[in-house]
Assembly symmetry: C2
Homo-oligomer: 205 residues x 2
DNA sequence: GTCTATATGGCGATAGAC
DNA sequence: GTCTATCGCCATATAGAC
């Protein structure tokens, strides 16, 4: 199977993903995106009228992918630990390539909550249902939760924060890129047990 | 005791803090800072030659506050669990009052990585020593850590992320302000045990 | 020290030829 | 669809009166 030459639109989107990811919305330069895509600035505006549209395209695509996958993992079958393994494996990798996303979700909820909420429901993401599913999961495994929300916050914190805070950690501890990559691989392996065990202890019955 | 009229420099710094914390370096506008301080743009440049200098002043201060709150507690005496209790009690409260700070620091490191490394050494920040202290602590308690960095990342993630992501959590689960406040109080109580237990299991010797 | 007015440069966006 | 050239704005920064 021959790989078709990527269309200009695809080239733009790929470039935009890369530049927005590195610099954020404000820091990204249309000129940079054009250069990375190997075209000129004017063409960007021909395809996506302005910077905001281009960002929204990239943002929506990423959000949809993430939300869909996460939902599938937790709503499906299997023990909680199995699900956590699959979740961290997917989510940490995904975040490494989209580390600006959490910030834009959080910030977007301040500025345009409806748009984001709409996007989430359109992609069939219902955090309350995911949480309910996790609680059911635990019940089947003989663990009763007092405050499920805490568990949900813990699960997300442990994957999102260390990836978003990558520059902070690597600066603080003078870590190379390879160090950081190993660090994230370690996390994927350790976090599921860490969570399950921490929780078991808190509900010792 | 009479409160002296704040000097112009203090007014500028207060305003700069507010604007930079919310918008980061790239997003902040000198005009905004001037307006907030109740002066005009030219005066900003009179006091701090340029935007970069002003930013550095604010950033150094923020970094010091953040690192200070963390290291003071962990560098002192006591068992790890005691320290964790004190840490979360203090840190989560601190973050609730300074919820922009973590984003500001992380974002600052994205925007100007080189400059910040220089700032850190100049101001004698050594997070690696804090971590070494935690590891010593654990050794005294008979717990050997394979990858201390993981633990450090976990400790910080669990306090910082849920505060920064407050709008996300409250949107997802339709929580009131009172709900959220209770949520954070719960965390202060639960997190120390959660961490200690999760960790013990991972190092079962 | 504090102001008004202005210079300077960069970036998003558009016009228009091909 | 793709390019070159250029506009117009806005943000930082400076000049210079008071």
């Amino acid at each position: 199977m021959v790989k078709k030459d990527p269309s200009t639109e695809e080239k733009i989107l790929t470039a935009a993903r890369e530049v927005f990811h590195k610099r954020g919305f404000g820091g990204a330069r249309m000129q940079d995106i054009a250069d990375t895509a190997g075209i000129n600035k004017a063409l960007l505006h021909y395809y996506f009228r302005n910077k905001e549209n281009l960002f929204n395209a990239v943002f929506t695509e990423a959000l949809a992918a993430m939300v869909g996958t996460v939902s599938n993992i937790f709503m499906g079958q299997g023990s909680l630990e199995e699900k956590l393994v699959r979740f961290y494996d997917y989510h940490i990798t995904f975040l490494q390539q989209n580390s600006y996303l959490p910030w834009f979700i959080i910030n977007g909820l301040y500025e345009k909550p409806d748009q984001i909420r709409e996007l989430m429901t359109r992609n069939n993401f219902h955090p309350d249902k995911v949480l309910a599913r996790i609680v059911d999961n635990l019940k089947e495994e003989g663990i009763e939760m007092e405050v499920p929300l805490q568990m949900f916050a813990n699960i997300l914190s442990l994957s999102i924060f260390p990836v978003v805070a990558r520059p902070m950690l690597s600066h603080f501890f003078s870590l190379t890129d390879e160090d950081m990559d190993r660090f994230y691989e370690e996390r994927k392996k350790n976090l599921p047990r860490f969570i399950i065990n921490g929780m078991k202890f808190q509900n010792p019955k």
